[in-house]
Structures are given as structure tokens and as C-alpha cells.
């Protein structure tokens, strides 16, 4: 090593790495870390196994010999995505920042020439990549096995479902990261997102039903309230994208179809986009001010 002074240090002539380069570096490391982790493997295997199970049961219960008609099976897969994907994305986001903080890794990382926003976005992009890989593998394996069995796999339906599931995953990842930034401990963050998941999956539906009966909510308000739950939005959008009919959702679905028609895609897209952007923006604002220690 050569003798160094301020004027001879080679680092003085090197430009400061740009935001995109740093985001890519953090994202790459986060993605590799996630792909090697047990949660990724477990979720992917569980998602695939459940997907195949749902496909088989849906087809068999509709009179077929099982593993038939992927279009019909899509409805079953939507419910599977509703349960598994939010939990997967919320827990991935929840442990991202909080566990690094707990290990002292966050402070070490931020002591490097990287900004807090770059670290947060890098983590987000990396985890989003891991979730995309998980969904692609899960749904891909499911589709491949159905195709191998000689069934109609409906590639367009699978791609649409995968795309919408990924959008939902991005929204839940944002919420998970917001919780992670706010929580002092990873265990608290994970506990909190499990509670949030329960609220989205079960409590909000029950509350909506109870509110409708108790408060005699008009149909338009019922539809607007259902838009507050990203899981409901995903469900409605998936069904709408699948067969352009929401009558399976009852009066609220019929109302939405009649009132908004083709604009529903835009409404659903705006709702899920808000679930992606708003929590992530809030997380960035909190992360910029919070001590990494």
C-alpha cells in the first residue's frame, strides 16, 4: 500500500456513486439474501403446493376429474393469493429494516457513502424482486404441472393473476416496510404486520358486513369502503379482469359495474397504486429522521 495524504488519495478523484448505482447495489444484496433465506423457500413451496391443491379441488368439485379448466381454477387461486401473498410481503417488509437495526447492520450501512432513501429503496426493490420470483415460481410451477397433465392452462389468465398479485404484493411490502421503519425490534414489526394481515383478511370484511347491517349503509358507500381494503380491491380487480363481471360480489359488484363500467380498471389501479406509494413515502420520511441505532 502506498503512503496516503489528502491530495494523493485515489478516492478524491472518484465520483460519488449515483443514487441508481447505490439502489441497485443494495437491491442486489437484498435479493440474494432473500433468495437464500428459508422464508423464501418455504413460501414458494407452500404457495405452489397450495396452488396445485386449490386447482385440483376446484376442478374436482365442479364435476371434472380434477386438474381441469384453469379458468375455473383462477377463482380458487385468487383466494389463495389473498391469503398467502399479503402475509408473505408484509413479513418480508417488516423484518427488512428492523432486523438490520437490531443487528447494528443498519448503522454500519449508513456510515457508507449511501443515502437513507437509497438504502430504503434498494431494500424495497430487492424484496420486490424476491416476491416476484416467488410468485413466478409458484404460479409458473402450477401452470406447468397443469399443462403437463394436458389441461387448458389459460396463459393470459395466469399472467393477469400474477401481475395483479405482484401489484398487491408491492402494496403490502410498502406497508411492511413502514412498520419496519417505525418498530424498534424485528419481533414487534413482525407481530404488528400479522395483526394488520388479520385485519385486512378477516376483520375488515366482518366490520364492513356489520356496518352495512347496523348503519344501513347505502350501496355506493359500501363499494367505496371496500376500496379501502387493498385485498378487496385485488379481489374485485382480478374478477373484473377475468370475466368483466362483478355480479359474484353481490349488489356492490353490480353497482360498481353499472356506475363505473370500464373506468373500474382505473379505479382499482389507483387504489392499489396508493397502497404502494403512500406507505413507502411515509416510510421514507420516517426513515430519514429516525436514528438507525
Amino acid at each position: 500500500m502506498t503512503t496516503l495524504t489528502l491530495t494523493t488519495s485515489p478516492i478524491l478523484t472518484r465520483p460519488v456513486p449515483g443514487a441508481l448505482a447505490n439502489i441497485a447495489a443494495v437491491a442486489g444484496r437484498e435479493l440474494r439474501d432473500a433468495l437464500r433465506s428459508r422464508w423464501f423457500i418455504l413460501y414458494t413451496l407452500a404457495f405452489t403446493a397450495l396452488g396445485l391443491g386449490v386447482s385440483y379441488v376446484s376442478a374436482a368439485s365442479s364435476g371434472g376429474a380434477g386438474l381441469s379448466n384453469f379458468g375455473r381454477t383462477t377463482a380458487g387461486l385468487i383466494n389463495l393469493v389473498l391469503l398467502v401473498v399479503p402475509l408473505m410481503a408484509l413479513s418480508a417488509g417488516a423484518s427488512s429494516v428492523a432486523s438490520d437495526r437490531e443487528r447494528g447492520m443498519l448503522a454500519y450501512l449508513l456510515a457508507q457513502p449511501v443515502s437513507r432513501l437509497e438504502v430504503l429503496l434498494g431494500k424495497y426493490v430487492g424484496l420486490a424482486g424476491a416476491l416476484l420470483a416467488c410468485l413466478t415460481l409458484g404460479l409458473g410451477l402450477c401452470t406447468a404441472i397443469l399443462a403437463w397433465k394436458g389441461q387448458d392452462t389459460g396463459v393470459a389468465a395466469v399472467l393477469t393473476l400474477a401481475g395483479l398479485a405482484f401489484t398487491l404484493a408491492l402494496g403490502m411490502l410498502s406497508v411492511g416496510m413502514l412498520v419496519s421503519v417505525l418498530a424498534r425490534r424485528a419481533s414487534v414489526a413482525v407481530g404488528t404486520v400479522i395483526f394488520i394481515w388479520l385485519v385486512f383478511v378477516f376483520v375488515s370484511d366482518l366490520a364492513l358486513m356489520a356496518g352495512t347491517i347496523a348503519l344501513r349503509l347505502p350501496i355506493d358507500q359500501l363499494f367505496l369502503l371496500s376500496l379501502l381494503n387493498p385485498l378487496q380491491v385485488f379481489k374485485m380487480w382480478s374478477l373484473h379482469a377475468g370475466d368483466a363481471s362483478l355480479d359474484v360480489l353481490g349488489p356492490a359488484g353490480l353497482y360498481a359495474m353499472e356506475e363505473y363500467g370500464p373506468r373500474l380498471h382505473l379505479i382499482f389501479a389507483a387504489c392499489l397504486s396508493a397502497w404502494i406509494v403512500l406507505p413507502l413515502t411515509l416510510a421514507a420520511a420516517v426513515f430519514a429522521r429516525r436514528s438507525p441505532l
Binding site: L4, L12, V16, D33, L110, A111, Q112, V114, S291, L293
Partner: protein, 298 residues
């Protein structure tokens, strides 16, 4: 190289760093000396941009707050204990942190960087497989990526054993000899005398003295420093007992540190023996920074 102007950092209403100002010229090695809670680590964290603060900090020509990324490009940082991702391999860790400094290291460069800190052949080892000393060496290798002109060291030997500590300090002394600017926190006299060209003494967040290492020894009035390794359950009690008997004992990682005059080196042993506190190990370090001349289990 580093200019700290009237920096104050409060936690609630308690000032951890209170109006500290100091300059570290190019090539100087400045030690921040003080007991636990004196504000050494907090001040370093302000320099690194990890904590908000009042006042101004400049690194080279960059403001540490407004131009943090550029300022941190000039720094290599070694923390007290590294909380790395356990599954990452040593070579991968080096490559990752190099990318954050805008560098893509070739395989040969990774090997050379690890060899430079005595980690030859360990590039494929996972972090969890490395000992505490090896992790610190890896942290040093990462800090040196890109040859930054400044090293920030935060009690880097606190978690090392006597042997590992000696080797690590020798490595740092070699780096200092190459003209690198150093700002480090320590409460070990041997480290300060071996590495520092200047010492700033901190007490309750205030800089109370700025002097050469030799003068610090005289000011402390201590001939040696006794490092006692004690069970965690009795450390606080031991410190309290020793203070009652006039020794300036303080907690330090897995044990306690006691500056002792030449004529009273056995004093702390007597105090702790009377209280039936077992000493697991000890290390006596002369204040002039010489090698450990006595070490063992009483």
C-alpha cells in the same frame, strides 16, 4: 481534514456531546479518550452522519450534513463490533461495500484486500464462521477499500482478546505510518499511546483537554492500567467498591478498567478479594504504551 465546530448532541435533555470543537489535520491520529458515557462514540456517530446534531462538521471540503455522501466517501469506518449479515461470505461483503464506494473489485483485488489485513484464503468463509478478531479485520479491509484518507475507529479492540488486540493495534499502527488521518475512540492507554499523535479527553460530553499522549499519562497520574475480566453480574458492584476506595474504575465491555499508580497495582485485587468477587482474568498495561508485561489468572 476533519473540522468539528461547536457540536452538540442531546438525547432528550441530556447532552451526550456538549459544544465540542476540534480540528484533525491531514495525517494526524487523534484519540478521543474518556470513560463510558463521555461522548466519544456519539461524537464519531455525528461525524459519520448517523445522528443529527447542532454545530458543524466538515470532512475534507464537504459538510458532513449537507453533503453526507461525498463526506463519507473520504471515510473508512470500523465499529466496535460488526453486525454483518451472517450468511454473507467475506469476499461478497467486501465486494458489496466496494460497490457502495463506486468500485467493482476483481477477484484478485478481493484476495489482495483480504490478504492486506491477514485474511488470506478466507474470502469464501461465511461471516458467521469468522472469529471476533477476523470480523474486525474484515471490517478494516472494508474500511480501506478505495484507500480513503481518513479512518474512523470506534473502540475497535473492545471485543478482542489480548492477543487479537495486540495484532490489531499493530496493523493500525502500520496504517498510521502510511500517513492516513485517524480519528478514534478508546479508553485503553496502550492503544492511545501506540496510535495517537494527539488526545482529546472527553468528560460528560465536553472536551476537557487536548494534549499529546505522554502528557495524558501524567495528567491521569496513573502508572498502569489494570484490565479486570469479571462476571457480568458483579461488574457494577466491583466498580462501585473500587470507586469507594479511591480507584477511578470504569466499565469496559466484558470487564472493568482501573488506572493504578505504580505503587498500588495490587490494590484493586485486595478490594475485590475482600468483597469475595472473583476475577476471571487480568491484564496490566503500562501507561507508556509498552507491551503487556503481566497477564494471567490470579
Amino acid at each position: 481534514m476533519i473540522r468539528i465546530e461547536n457540536v452538540t448532541k442531546r438525547f432528550g435533555r441530556v447532552p451526550a456531546v456538549d459544544g465540542v470543537s476540534l480540528d484533525v489535520p491531514v495525517g494526524e491520529s487523534l484519540a478521543l479518550w474518556g470513560s463510558n458515557g463521555a461522548g466519544k462514540t456519539t461524537l464519531l456517530r455525528c461525524v459519520l452522519g448517523l445522528l443529527p446534531y447542532q454545530g458543524h462538521i466538515r470532512i475534507g471540503e464537504h459538510d458532513a450534513r449537507a453533503d453526507g455522501k461525498a463526506a463519507r466517501m473520504l471515510l473508512g469506518y470500523v465499529p466496535q463490533e460488526l453486525g454483518f449479515y451472517d450468511d454473507l461470505r467475506a469476499g461478497e461483503a467486501l465486494r458489496f461495500f466496494a460497490r457502495l464506494k463506486g468500485l467493482r473489485l476483481a477477484r484478485s483485488e478481493v484476495h489482495a484486500a483480504l490478504a492486506n489485513v491477514g485474511l488470506d484464503g478466507h474470502h469464501a468463509k461465511r461471516i458467521r464462521e469468522l472469529s471476533g478478531g477476523m470480523k474486525q479485520r474484515l471490517a478494516l479491509a472494508i474500511a480501506l477499500v478505495g484507500d480513503p484518507p481518513v479512518l474512523i475507529l470506534d473502540e475497535v479492540t473492545a471485543s478482542l482478546d489480548a492477543c487479537g488486540r495486540g495484532e490489531f493495534v499493530a496493523m493500525l499502527a502500520r496504517l498510521r505510518g502510511q500517513g492516513r488521518t485517524m480519528l478514534f475512540a478508546s479508553h485503553r492507554l496502550d492503544e492511545v499511546t501506540a496510535l495517537a499523535t494527539r488526545v482529546v479527553m472527553l468528560e460528560r460530553g465536553k472536551a476537557i483537554a487536548d494534549l499529546p499522549p505522554a502528557d495524558m499519562t501524567r495528567r491521569l497520574g496513573a502508572g498502569s492500567e489494570l484490565h479486570l475480566l469479571l462476571d457480568a453480574a458483579v461488574r457494577a458492584q466491583a466498580v462501585a467498591l473500587l470507586r469507594e476506595r479511591g480507584f477511578e474504575a470504569r466499565l469496559n465491555g466484558r470487564g472493568i478498567l482501573v488506572p493504578v499508580p505504580e505503587s498500588q497495582k495490587a490494590g484493586p485485587f485486595r478490594v475485590l478479594a475482600e468483597a469475595r468477587i472473583t476475577i476471571a482474568d487480568f491484564d496490566l498495561v503500562p501507561a507508556d504504551g509498552g507491551h503487556t508485561h503481566s497477564e494471567g489468572t490470579p
